[in-house]
Amino acid sequence: MNKNHNENDRLQDLQVIKDMLQKVEERHLVESWSYFIWGAVIIIGGMIHFFTEYYFSFKDYDLALKVWLPVLCIGGLFEALGFIRKAAKESIPIFTKSFRYLFAAFIGIFIIFAILVITLLQLNAGHLVPVFINFFVALCFFGYALSAYPPLMFQAFVIIIAGIMLFVFNIPIPYSVLVTGAVIGGSFIWTGVQAKTSEVS
C-alpha cells in the first residue's frame, strides 16, 4: 500500500503513460522501401494495363490475371518482407494474437475485394472497377491511419477525390485505370517518403 503518493505524483503517472503511448502511437508497420515497391508496381501495372488494352484490346479477365494478380503478389510479398524486417529491427514479436488478427483481416479484406471485382466484371460493369478500387483502397488507408499512422488520412482523401472525379466525369477505361494506378501508386510512394523521414528521424 502506498500512502505517500500524492496528487502530483498521480499527475506524473498520467504523464508517464501519455509519453509512453505517444512513443509507440505513430509508427509504420512496414519498412519504407516496401511502400516504394508497392507504388512502383501499381504505377507500372496501370501503364501495362493501359497499353495492352489500348493497343491490343485485352479482355478484363486477362488483364486481371496477367497484370493485376502479379502486381498484388509482388506487392504483397515485399510488404510481408518489409513487415518482418521492421518487426525484427524494433524487436516486436510477430506471432502474437493481435498480429494473427491483423493477418486474418488482410486475408478477409483481400477475399472481399476479389469477390466484388469479379462481381462487377460479371455484371458488365468493368468501367466501374477503377472507381471501386479507389474507394476500396481509400478505406484501407483509413483503417491503417486509425490503427497505426494517422497522417495517412491525407492519402485516403486524395484517393477518394480521385474516385469521385472518375465517377462524376465518367472517365472511360483504360484512361481511368491509368489515373487510378498513378493516384494509388503515388499515394504509396508519398507514404514511403513519410515512413523514410520517420525512420531517419
Binding site: M1, N2, K3, H5, E7, D9, R10, Q12, D13, L14, V16, I17, D19, M20, L21, K23, V24, A88, E90, S91, I92, P93, F95, T96, K97, S98
Partner: protein, 104 residues
C-alpha cells in the same frame, strides 16, 4: 469511498516511472520483448531485469522464452490479474481528472 481510500488499493509496484512505462507498453502491444523494452526505455540490462522481476514477483506479468531466428528471446505479457489491476488504475486516474475538473 474517498479518493484517498480508493488509492490505497494499488500497491507500490505501479508507482515507479519505468515500471509504469513497462505496463503501459504491455497494455498497448500485448507482448513485448526484452530488447523492445530496452530500445524504448533505455537503461541498463540489469536495471530493466530488476524492474521486470518485481513485476513478475507481484504476478502482474509473466515471461516466456521464445526462439527468434538463431537466438532465444524473452517476451513478457500481462497476467489476467495484472491487466485487470492496470485497467483499474487507469480508470482511477481518469476519475481523478474528472473530479478535478468538477472542482475547478
Amino acid at each position: 469511498m474517498k479518493t484517498e481510500d480508493l488509492y490505497l488499493q494499488f500497491d507500490n509496484i505501479f508507482f515507479e516511472k519505468t515500471r509504469l512505462s513497462m505496463l503501459t507498453l504491455l497494455y498497448r502491444e500485448e507482448t513485448v520483448s526484452f530488447n523492445r523494452f530496452k530500445k524504448l526505455l533505455g537503461g541498463t540490462d540489469g536495471a530493466l531485469y530488476s524492474h521486470l522481476k518485481k513485476l513478475i514477483e507481484s504476478n502482474y506479468i509473466i515471461s516466456k522464452k521464445t526462439i527468434m531466428g538463431n537466438s532465444a528471446e524473452t517476451q513478457y505479457s500481462f497476467t489476467k490479474q495484472g491487466k485487470a489491476s492496470f485497467k483499474k488504475y487507469l480508470a482511477f486516474l481518469e476519475n481523478m481528472v474528472i473530479e478535478n475538473k468538477k472542482g475547478d
